[in-house]
Amino acid sequence: MAESRRIKHRKTVSYAKWAYIFIIPFFVSYILFTLVPQLLTIYNSFFENYMNGLQQIGPNFVGLGNYKALLSPGQSGTIDILKYFGNTMALWILGAVPQFLIALMLAVIFTSARLNIKGQGLAKAIIYMPNLIMASAFSMLIFALFSKVGPINKYLVASGIIEQSFDFLTVKVSVRSLIALLNFLMWFGNTTIVLMAGIMGIDQSLFESAEIDGSNSIQVFFDITLPLLMPILSYALITSLIGGIQMFDVPQVLTNGRGTPNLTSTTVIMMLNNFLSGSKNYGRAGAVSVLLFIITGILSTIVYRMLAKQYKD
């Protein structure tokens, strides 16, 4: 009795300090390695600061100059960063739509007691495998397979499907499709596993009672599975969106940094990389980062709200 009172006492008085002790490493690391650089990035974005050859230019305070330069129309009359952002989103959506649709289907199939799929373990391991390859290596493989003198072209010509080898890497549709294909292959297994976890977390009795009510599989999916999966689906979508906005490796390696054709596969991070490498243009790169942050915040909130609303309905 006295023992338990002592514990109670200790809990109310001193346990809170453990919470702080346990979360301190996270925050120290966050502040040192993330927050300080983030603030510095924002600070940088108001300065002209780059290397011209081996000569340091700046830092000179330019106010919103970097933002103005980024948001005013460039040589071709379009605002480059918006174009790149459009590319990035197009590339993400092209890959994410099949990724989520197929992952959803797979998750339902794998978890279905009725279908009772055999050999699941192996299948799940294999579809997760592409996620293990580094994006740049995977892009290289695709590049080699689809290059103008590569095996796919040789096969297509030899079998008479096309007359002349087709340059997959110079046509907007095919470059974008290749990038989307790569992203899809790399991530659908991962999403499947995450969504399966969500479905398996749903109370089984709900499915059973639906079956007794005579609902068919499609009704069960839309009435029970999907609404109850919303939290995890929104988590997966938002993390995919954040990853998509930061897309870099695949288009960079596949197009050798050129974003061909006509800069239609250049992503925002590729632009950032162009500013950073060589001229170390911290001012302009900082402004790109800040704009990216604002856009990500807005988009994530929209997606979250949309999904949350649907979930509540």
């Binding site: 979360i23 120290v28 580094m134 493989l141 080699a144 976890a197 930061q246």
Partner: protein, 290 residues
């Protein structure tokens, strides 16, 4: 009545059979797609440069060992060194990320304290900030303090990983009964021991999942390392692959390049194989509820 019933059940059975066939076909196609690239990679890593440039054939090239030798001994990239560097970075950050994320999640989940809600919301908010926002400032600071070519600089930031924290938090919510912590306290364990010896073992599946996820993303990370690691002896595998691909004509050997990619995957496969059982189990039992 019975006839109608049995015909209906026969119809249902036939339907189920068709559904099953379709499901297996669907899975089969996707599995084949994933395997195709691995088989291609294996095949291409067995070919010499001129075989790769010549007519495409599905025959085994027979230069596997030669390519292995060439890639492993490539003078300007030094694969063994790159593998070691990558492994140090990926393994350390996987361990650090998962441990501290679990610790933070535990701290916020188990204890009642004043800023609990605020801190949780804050972490969720910073999850939205793209990594590149801090990258520019991070690189500038690294250069300023002469911290380029330091591997630990790629490892320590892993202590604060909001996405991993989020996952751990959700996991704890579904698996950790608070009574268990209470019971451990009655046994007189200190709070640290409770976390390390009671909670961590329960979280093993979740830790395994996040370990493989963070190992893979760290192993495959190119952007930050390519800007920070400039010395040859510090380079990681992704940087070397980028180098080989842009090698000048006199050294360009596609067979070697494919062999390098194959080699780069092996350690990840190994880690995956070791942790994969826990992964499927972990994600499954770590179901995130509402």
């Amino acid at each position: 009545m019975t006839i109608a019933n049995s015909s209906r059940s026969r119809k249902a059975k036939a339907q189920l059979f068709i559904l099953r066939v379709l499901a297996y076909l669907f899975i089969g196609i996707l599995v084949a797609m994933c395997l195709f690239f691995f088989v291609m990679l294996l095949l291409m890593s067995s070919k010499s440069n001129s075989q790769l440039q010549g007519a495409f054939s599905l025959k085994w090239g027979g230069h596997f060992l030669e390519n292995l030798h060439n890639a492993w001994n490539d003078a300007s990239t030094n694969i063994p060194r790159g593998m070691v560097n990558s492994f140090i970075v990926a393994m350390s950050s996987a361990l650090i990320t998962t441990y501290f994320s679990a610790l933070t999640a535990y701290g916020i989940h188990v204890y009642e304290f004043r800023f609990k809600r605020a801190i949780f919301t804050f972490i969720m908010a910073i999850m939205m900030i793209p990594a590149q926002v801090s990258a520019v400032g991070f690189i500038q600071l690294a250069y300023k303090f002469g911290l380029t070519n330091k591997l630990w600089l790629l490892i320590l930031p892993g202590m604060a990983a909001p996405v991993v924290f989020f996952y751990m938090k959700q996991y704890l919510e579904s698996v950790l009964p608070l009574e268990m912590v209470e019971a451990a306290r009655i046994d007189g364990s200190s709070e640290f021991r409770i976390f390390n010896e009671v909670v961590l073992p329960i979280m093993k599946p979740a830790v395994a999942v996040q370990m493989i996820f963070s190992f893979v993303s760290s192993w495959n990370n190119y952007f930050m390392p390519s800007l920070l690691l400039t010395k040859p002896e510090k380079r990681t595998v992704p940087i070397m692959i980028a180098m080989l691909r842009s090698a000048d004509y006199s050294k360009f050997d596609m067979g070697k390049v494919f062999m390098f990619i194959l080699l780069a995957i092996l350690p990840v496969m190994l880690v995956y194989a070791v942790l994969s059982k826990s992964i499927i189990k972990g994600v499954t039992s770590g179901s995130v509820k509402g």
